[in-house]
Symmetry: C2
Subunit: 411 residues, 2 copies
């Protein structure tokens, strides 16, 4: 056991919380029930206190009294306006390149298919075994239907996915490099700019999955030259379980991009309802069905809060939280056989910390019963998701000390 | 002009409303704003008064305090449980065949692709020019990507799509017949059982779009032998703008069905997150991304209300409403050059009535300003959507008389 006692850690956390300029925002989130410490805001962000009232007003006023007129009064363009807002607040994306729709999975399907169509004659997709299951499964399914070949890479345990790791699989047959900006399990953060340059040097496109980075750290899709991106709004954007996803297409590809799910909301003249599909101009053509207007509501206030707090300040707190968590795990849990799977270099990790122990599944279940809520990640990981705006340093201590207590119980 | 005056019509409507056994349910829906008569519940159903409180409780309690634990406590299976409920209440579908997900467009894409895979070697899809744009556009897109041939039919003006109309295009190359149960513009109601038998006689599958029938009239997918169906929940199921859709796959196809958008929620072991996609057993394999749990909430109470009222009673009121509307249009609007596009045989029409007049777009805009809200449908239609549980006979008179007033204004 290290030299830090539980009470020392609690005092350190109290000092850090007192000095945290973002601390006042903690009070904006719903609390209650049995929750002692929520350490999974990177899987499902907490609702804001204003969210329930937004939903009530939406149901009873916007939906209930404007009724179908709502489509003319803002709903039709909401996927684009909200996309632009996400782009400006979290993606470093100028207007007209981002749209909200569907699920992450469906948008990834559209954009992987789109990428293959943008690179006719090229047959290979680079994908890594550390990526989130949906990304990998989609690539497999699209390979099965199109005849594309998957070039699998295994992320380096220490460095994740790097330019060096990609080099051997990039070539003149590479159509697309599909990667997650922050790895869902290990927390590795890509050097997206360098990887994009490496892919472009071979004429390949990059599709970046920003599910675990959007809202938690600065993203500069335009500056980095990323071609395509998809992300989730129920993690750091607090859109609620199953809220719709967003897709980004760099301006230079908008004129040529296609996608296979031709629906009325991606057509050039949706309400003409004419014969023959003609794709809309711009990023609207990524839409297919009727936009999920109800489900788009909760994220609106969180985007305002992120904008108010500032992504740089959020990132600063995030690295402080993850650094504090790693140091505390080192001190309090190393002797119990716990190891840290997440990079110690703050510039190479995202907003969560995964630790490994053979009893992780059992421990997570016991913690949940106590209202201390991290996530279990196979085969042996406890993932501490430290959503910066809704997590305190004290929450970190509560979580780590609860793990200590479980490991110190008699077998 | 006919013999019915405005006041006579109002008196008739008052009598019909007084005798309407479903009338008490009108009070369960949100009212307010400037709304005088809502005649578009088949495009966007009204919210129930209980919906805002359901959303508040969901946000502040289920989401806010159970947090990620919600997935283990019901959300993961919600697409299947809610699907079964829709199946039982509105589709005549036994459990295990219906799932809630995505949008109508995305589910139609999956099921059209699925149908082609279930009929390898067959290359033709039958589709009609009266179908909703999304259905037609999807068929075009899938034909473009798979090489399938579309066999277009034009619905008969009086009879809609019939077995006789289909006969010339059905053959041993027909993989799929894609039809809407109720036509979105004309309101024609198919004889789905007869059409399914005709398609099956040629070895083809039937995919029925029930967007404009689910919740408004009895559907018997199992009894009719329909193979596949997709429908919408924001029309007669009052799920709110852009609420998710549902898909039905007949039991006999579940073991063999495939779909191209391979995501983690359609995998056999979603939270194992293993290498290699293995499709889930049963209708779950139609899922792709994370289920839209927030967006699934509003429809729950409406399904209960439909179950309580009974689909047969709803259909009885529906045909009375549409019959009353047609008679009133005949009496009050024929002399103004208005014609009825919807079948006069109640057994051959759905829950809405479309009337045609050259000034329909202008008239609809003027009505909207008065809080009288039908829908405009190109090129010259006013569609009166008479959602049975939330529309009164008096609403019909209000709508028709407002059209009379517009047409009697000096040019």
């Amino acid at each position: 056991m290290g030299t830090t006692s539980r009470s020392t850690a609690q005092n350190q956390a109290a000092d850090l919380d007192a000095a945290d300029s973002l601390r006042p925002h903690l009070d904006r989130f719903v609390t209650g029930g049995d929750v002692q410490a929520y350490l999974d805001g990177n899987s499902l962000g907490r609702p804001l206190r204003v969210t329930a009232e937004r939903m009530r007003a939406f149901v009873d006023e916007a939906w209930g009294t404007r009724l179908i007129r709502g489509w003319d009064e803002g709903w039709f363009d909401l996927p684009l306006r909200l996309g632009d807002r996400i782009g400006a607040v979290t993606l470093g994306a100028a207007a007209g390149q981002t749209v909200v729709a569907d699920s992450t999975t469906v948008l990834l399907y559209k954009l992987i298919r789109a990428a293959l169509a943008l690179r006719p004659g090229r047959t290979e997709i680079v994908v890594d075994r550390g990526n989130f299951p949906t990304d990998r499964y989609l690539a497999e399914g699209i390979a099965a239907e199109t005849g594309a070949t998957l070039r699998w890479i295994d992320p380096d345990h220490d460095a994740g996915v790097t330019v060096d790791l990609l080099a051997p699989v990039l070539g003149d047959q590479t159509a697309l490099v599909l990667l997650s900006h922050v790895a869902y399990r290990s927390g590795h953060l890509l050097d997206a700019a360098a990887i994009t340059d490496a892919a472009h040097a071979h004429g390949a496109l990059v599709l970046l999955d920003v599910c675990h980075s959007a809202g938690a750290l600065p993203i500069h899709l335009d500056k980095w030259g990323v071609d395509l991106a998809v992300g989730c709004t129920y993690k750091y954007l607090n859109g609620g379980p199953g809220s719709p996803a967003f897709a980004y297409v760099a301006h230079r590809h908008l004129a040529d991009i296609t996608q296979p799910i031709w629906g009325w909301m991606g057509a050039a003249a949706s309400f003409e309802m004419g014969q023959g599909y003609v794709a809309a101009q711009g990023v609207r053509r990524l839409l297919s069905g009727t936009p999920p207007v109800v489900a788009m509501q909760p994220m609106i206030d969180m985007l305002d809060l992120i904008d108010e707090a500032g992504v740089d300040a959020i990132r600063e707190k995030s690295t402080a939280l993850t650094g504090f968590a790693i140091a505390l795990v080192d001190e309090r849990l190393t002797d119990h056989g716990v190891t840290v799977a997440t990079p110690r270099d703050p510039d190479r990790r995202g907003g969560h910390v995964t630790i490994d122990h053979p009893e992780s599944q059992h421990i997570t279940a016991r913690l949940w019963e106590q209202g201390i809520i991290p996530d279990f990640r196979r085969p042996s990981g406890i993932r501490l998701g430290l959503s910066p705006l809704s997590t305190s340093f004290t929450d970190v201590v509560t979580g780590v000390e609860a793990i200590v207590a479980e490991l110190e119980k008699p077998a």
